[in-house]
């Protein structure tokens, strides 16, 4: 029977990162391009990963008292324009609906680039008194931002999937206290699930969300030495509540403007995860987000076939109690072909079962992260699987943390910063006076920008540009 040729990645991660990334996401069948430029298809593997991320985050949101809702996809232009900074930030990349059926619409409708303006119109109707607060809403949906820069699947897509949290509080203190709750949830998702370290920090005013008073983000570092923004949290203060008249009667019977926050994690994280952990054989998935954690491959010849398959099915039932397991019993592919396919698709642990394994009452295991191959006894196999999966998860996280740590450097002069950025990439920490003119100068001189102001970092005495007193430690990096 004819067998299709096994796929392989024809580019090296260490030599040609961009080409390698493209081949990994295509050949592992995570995604495909679509006929709409910049919009991608999430194939079953990518969508299943997203469902795992979504479920984990959603449970944490619900435990924090956040309720899910769904607001319309389309936003009338007049609403989008209500908050000055917001519309300035988003209008250049809005996709506009202008016709329906054979009719021209009276007013253009924006496909949501984010839902502040459509949600807050309703909030202003619903919120009347302190009893209606806090109001903590979230929605899972897709948004469209018609960027004209070069799109990269997952990392920069014209349509992406995300959660958008929108919360309303009576006081500034309560609103600010939410920051650690949400960034805590996002850190758990990125670290415990995706095995991705990040640097938590505040964005500069120049880089903050359009309409916010402050933005906090988790920044990742990709293997090519460029930084990329992960999940974020915005303190909106009273900017939107004033634009949308979201007021409430406080306990003293006086009318107050509410305090608002917004926050998001997107499918970009899948791209960061792929780029970080995968290798020249294909995808490497952290067990916590792998839709299949263990794949069982029976090693059969004509004589042993029935026996091996029977044992494989038994083992599958046992392992199913502790892990997401799949038995690949297709008889029209060879074992070697299957090894290759599941390696390409990043399954963390392969379990081979053949006549010799059965005789020795063992299985043969192969770790996707280290490619180590070893036997394990049938007795206590569930625990072995649990332990190996945990070890893989930890190994991926530790390796990524080590890479991040090794690529954070300090610079004491603009010249040194420039050289580090151009020769080594990575993140360079510098002192900054807080002036936008110095921020602009860094960009001008190095091509890199301030990604964020890390909450935990060494302090510097002087601004690297003007030499005035440093008020902040800034992380500088070339960035996606």
């Amino acid at each position: 029977m004819e067998e299709s040729r096994p796929k392989e990645i024809r580019a090296k991660k260490s030599e040609n990162f961009d080409e390698w990334y493209t081949q990994v996401i295509l050949k592992s069948e995570l995604m495909d391009y679509s006929p709409v430029s910049g919009c991608m298809v999430f194939r079953p593997l990518a969508y299943a990963i997203w469902e795992i991320i979504q479920k984990a985050a959603d449970e944490m949101f619900k435990a924090a008292g956040i309720q899910n809702v769904y607001f319309p996809l389309l936003i009338p232009e007049r609403l989008l324009k209500k908050e000055q900074e917001h519309v300035k930030g988003f209008a250049p990349e809005v996709a506009w609906v202008t016709e329906a059926g054979n009719s021209k619409l009276d007013e253009r409708l924006a496909i949501r680039p984010t839902s502040e303006t459509i949600m807050y119109d309703s909030f202003s109707k619903w919120i009347r008194s302190w009893r209606d607060l806090p109001l903590k809403f979230n929605q899972w949906n897709s948004v469209i931002r018609w960027e004209f820069r070069h799109p990269t699947p997952f990392l920069r897509s014209r349509e992406f999937l995300w959660n958008e949290g929108h919360t309303v509080y009576a006081t500034r203190e309560e609103a600010e206290a939410e920051r650690d709750v949400i960034l805590g949830i996002y850190s758990r998702i990125t670290e415990e699930y995706l095995a991705l370290p990040g640097i938590v920090g505040k964005k500069t005013d120049k880089e903050k969300f359009a309409g916010a008073i402050a933005t906090y983000s988790i920044e990742h570092l990709l293997p090519d030495g460029k930084a990329i923004q992960g999940p974020d949290f915005h303190l909106d203060g009273q900017n939107f509540s004033k634009a949308f008249e979201i007021t409430f009667l406080n306990k003293d019977g006086k009318r107050d403007y509410a305090w608002q926050n917004t926050w998001a994690i997107t499918t970009r994280e899948i791209g960061v995860m792929v780029a970080t952990h995968s290798d020249d054989r294909g995808l490497v998935l952290p067990p916590m987000v792998a839709p299949i954690q263990v794949v069982i491959i029976p090693i059969v010849d004509e004589r042993s076939k029935d026996k091996v398959l029977a044992v494989a099915k038994e083992v599958r039932s046992k392992i199913a109690k502790v892990a997401r397991v799949h038995l690949d019993d297709r008889d029209y592919y060879t074992a070697g072909w299957k090894f290759n396919e599941w390696e390409m698709k990043g399954v963390p642990l392969r379990m081979e079962i053949g006549p010799r394994d059965i005789k020795a009452s063992q299985v043969t295991l192969a770790r996707r992260d280290t490619m180590e191959r070893f036997t394990a006894g049938m007795l206590g196999l569930e625990q072995t699987v649990v332990d190996v999966l945990e070890s893989i998860q930890n190994n991926l996280f530790e390796t990524a943390k080590k890479f991040l740590k090794e690529n954070i450097r300090n610079a004491k002069s603009l010249q040194e910063l420039k050289e580090m950025i151009s020769k080594k990439g990575g993140i360079v920490q510098v002192g900054w006076c807080g002036m936008q003119s110095c921020e602009d100068k860094i960009k001008e001189e190095t091509g890199a920008k301030i990604t964020n102001l890390p909450l935990e970092a060494e302090r510097f005495e002087r601004c690297i540009v003007c030499g005035m007193q440093a008020r902040e430690t800034a992380n500088v990096a070339r960035s996606y």
Copy 2:
């Protein structure tokens, strides 16, 4: 402390159904109108119900080997036009994106009214051989159909949420066998979860999905005597595979066109459920889809407060093991105000705990469906709650089934059909020869249409219009 006035429905279901329905969905805070005409907001209660439906259906889909995916929201006009019947059916209600940022697009992009055309473009790339089949995909998303008829929230909305299943098979037989699997899943959702009976049948050629060779549907009957279409299943045959060149190499090494199906359940079901079970006090939710199944209301005075709250919390922990329970311990609302609110929001079972209950080692229960109020011992309370919830679920379903049964009638002449439709509404079963001219005549004479051709029904000898031999039993009803 000032207390907002309790809400009440100021219309009777039996007298003014439309106004009653509008008040129920608004005052129970299921939904709200949005600034975009015909598009609604799903508030937390409606969205939580949708999440329960979605989770139940999604688990059944996955057990049937169906995988979730996500395809782009936007479809290039040239793709939408590939299948003749399909574009004819959908183009009149497509919302078109024509501009992005400040640029005019070269080609109009449709917001998906359904995703056949964008998905099948990819399918034609991915499917090569019989090994790639069956391909069974599903996506949960929202679609936009810019209808110009009067919109009704949930029941007919310009944007709605749904699942769209898209499957591809090697043979006609396999494709047709899927019908009972999917309609079986949808029947379980409508009957076991939503407590909604329905009539399973085939659509006439006139009423079938644009592009399908046959459509099957579950039709519901609303309390106002009008029918409304529920979930559906379409045999697409090879119509799309020919338009999109979805071919595969079969086991004999020959190239074949694939056989396809599509199927969907939408948020319309929430509207049908509300309309069917609710009453003049507000929403009535079947326990299987109620986000809160049991609400505990402490009956407190100053002296008993601490004791009662402590007992209420204990009871909550016990009940949480068997039901979705909420303790309403807000101290700024009276018990009476809370009774009213939770009745409006349709919580199936209310549990009152006061000093007298505690002394008697009991709680007081109140069923939302029958409004019966009775006491139950603390001992074995979990089982009592399980039993009462089951009894409520059954009662709602039986009541709805009785209503449906009483409103299915037979007519032997066009005159009789006309009178039944105009005087009694409901569903009238008639013999039909299968000709579209007779179908059109029924519509012309009665204002009602053939909703579907029930799979299980009495047979008639003659067509009610032309008197020729009846080939089908047709259900005729005024319809949403």
